[in-house]
Amino acid sequence: MDVLYNLEKKNYKFNSNALFKRLLKIAKNKNTITLIESKVIDKGGFLVRENQLVTGFYFILKGKIKVYNSAANNKSQILKLATKGDLIGLSAFNSSYYGASAKAEEKVEAYFIKPKNLEILLSKYNDFALLLVKALAVKVRNYEIRQKHLSLLSATERIIDALLLISNKFGKKTTEGILIEHCISRKDIASFSSVSLENTIRTLSKLQKMNFIDIEPKVIFIKNKPALVNLLKKSSLTTI
């Protein structure tokens, strides 16, 4: 559980992200500089869209992204949140179409690599291939954990889980607690936690009354993160 929620876990520090360190070196190498494009996507823009043909993959250098796919009644289901050090589009590595959409919640800077170019880089730099294997293995594990949470946790617990995941990716530490400014609309939290909108609103009020969070216009503060994590550990889950 700590792997998903911990704000300061070692391998989350961008500077020590081995895959990106390697990628930054490759991007500056004159032999491979043409294989990697730098892209900027404005807030609200799409990096990839569900069911569109795969054109390439993104390695995020800066910014905040929401990854989602379509659910019933034109609603969407948020699969995960991404920020610097994350990869977008790689679940479609050997597919014709992207399985989900990725939208920029704020301005995004990323390296974009076309499939054929990625193939060349993986052949040329074996260490890069190994690092990519490791990075994808971590992503699979995170999805496995989410699969379990979505099936075992109650609605309230799923909302707490969603808040903790959002704070992990998009949160900023302040004196008042962990500040979250993105992906905090009730609709987004409901979508991320697979809970109805009404239940989400009700639960967030309850959490505020219990002093775990503070809701202000356009922001949420997580005042007591360890206590929220303990709530999950006590109820349905023990350790991961």
């Binding site: 792997v3 391998n11 569900e50 069911n51 795969v54 796919n69 379509s70 659910a71 019933a72 009644n73 034109n74 289901q77 699969l79 790689l90 679940s91 479609a92 590595f93 050997n94 597919s95 014709s96 399985g99 989900a100 499939p115 054929k116 193939e119 993986l122 052949s123 074996n126 260490d127 291939a129 190994l130 990519l132 294997v133 490791k134 994808l136 293995a137 971590v138 992503k139 699979v140 594990r141 999805y143 496995e144 954990i145 989410r146 699969q147 379990k148 979505l150 099936s151 075992l152 697979s194 349905s236 889950l237 023990t238 991961i240």
Partner: protein, 255 residues
């Protein structure tokens, strides 16, 4: 290597990839320079290949047999994935200290085990294996993205129908009567795979049997009308008439 413009379905890609992995790994395990890196392990039904919470020592390539990957918490079990020949297990725990899931054999299993250290060394020398692992992990991600979507999209009946189709896809045997499912058909296991309760599984299976789509016999389920099961899932996707989402057009490709 790239199937980017291939029209192959998820099911076909998965099958091709698993065959390629099996062939490559068998060659490496027989090659005099690399065979010392692999250990061949044999398991009987219900044996545990990997135990949740134990220290990670390596990964397994399934050469023969059927497995299930699951997690148990407070006596509640979630089956995350089913696997068979060509699947790789333990990979998602590669960067961590402890295995997060358990892996159990559903029948006689033959697997090659390779330690973390040896895997790293072999990947340095054999880039093709690294490509295959990247392909494999990517398909895994796709699988989970679809499962997450279905978790919210389908009712309990839909989730149980999907579970039957997943088992059929992985373990089903074509017979004159239909697609025979012998593994993972205990009500408790179906509930763990479909993320519903035991009682709901019993109720829903009876309903589907009354429609004639399946036949329940001792220790097995026969899918007599797969099209009916697929249609009932597609119905659940088209909940609003003006839905622009073609989210469920892939169902034929998935199962």
């Amino acid at each position: 290597m790239f199937n980017q413009y291939s029209k192959h379905s998820f099911k076909e890609l998965n099958a091709k990839l698993k065959k390629s992995i099996t062939n490559n790994v068998k060659l490496l395990a027989q090659n005099s320079k690399t065979k010392h890196l692999f250990y061949t392990n044999y398991y009987y039904k219900d044996d545990i290949l990997v135990e949740q919470g134990k220290e990670v020592d390596g990964i397994y390539f399934i050469i023969k047999g059927k497995i299930k990957i699951f997690n148990v918490e407070n006596l509640k079990s979630t089956i995350l994935r089913l696997g068979s020949t060509g699947d790789i297990v333990g990979l998602s725990s590669l960067n961590f200290e402890y295995y997060w899931t358990s892996i159990a054999a559903l029948d006689n299993v033959e697997a090659y085990f390779i330690s973390r250290k040896n895997l790293k060394n072999i990947l340095k020398d054999k880039p093709k294996l690294a490509f295959l692992l990247i392909n494999y992990l990517s398909l895994n991600l796709q699988y989970f993205e679809l499962r997450h979507k279905h978790n919210s999209l389908f009712s309990a009946k839909g989730k149980i129908t999907e579970a039957l189709l997943l088992i059929a896809n992985e373990f089903g045997k074509n017979t004159e009567q239909g697609i025979e499912l012998m593994e993972c058909v205990q009500r408790k296991e179906l509930a763990a795979l479909a993320n519903t309760t035991y009682e709901t599984v019993i109720r829903v299976l009876k309903k589907i049997e009354l429609k004639g789509a399946i036949k329940i016999e001792n220790h097995k389920i026969i899918i007599k009308d797969k099209e009916y099961l697929l249609k009932s899932l597609k119905k659940q996707c088209n909940l609003s008439e003006d839905s622009k989402s073609n989210a469920c057009s892939y169902l034929d490709l998935l199962y």
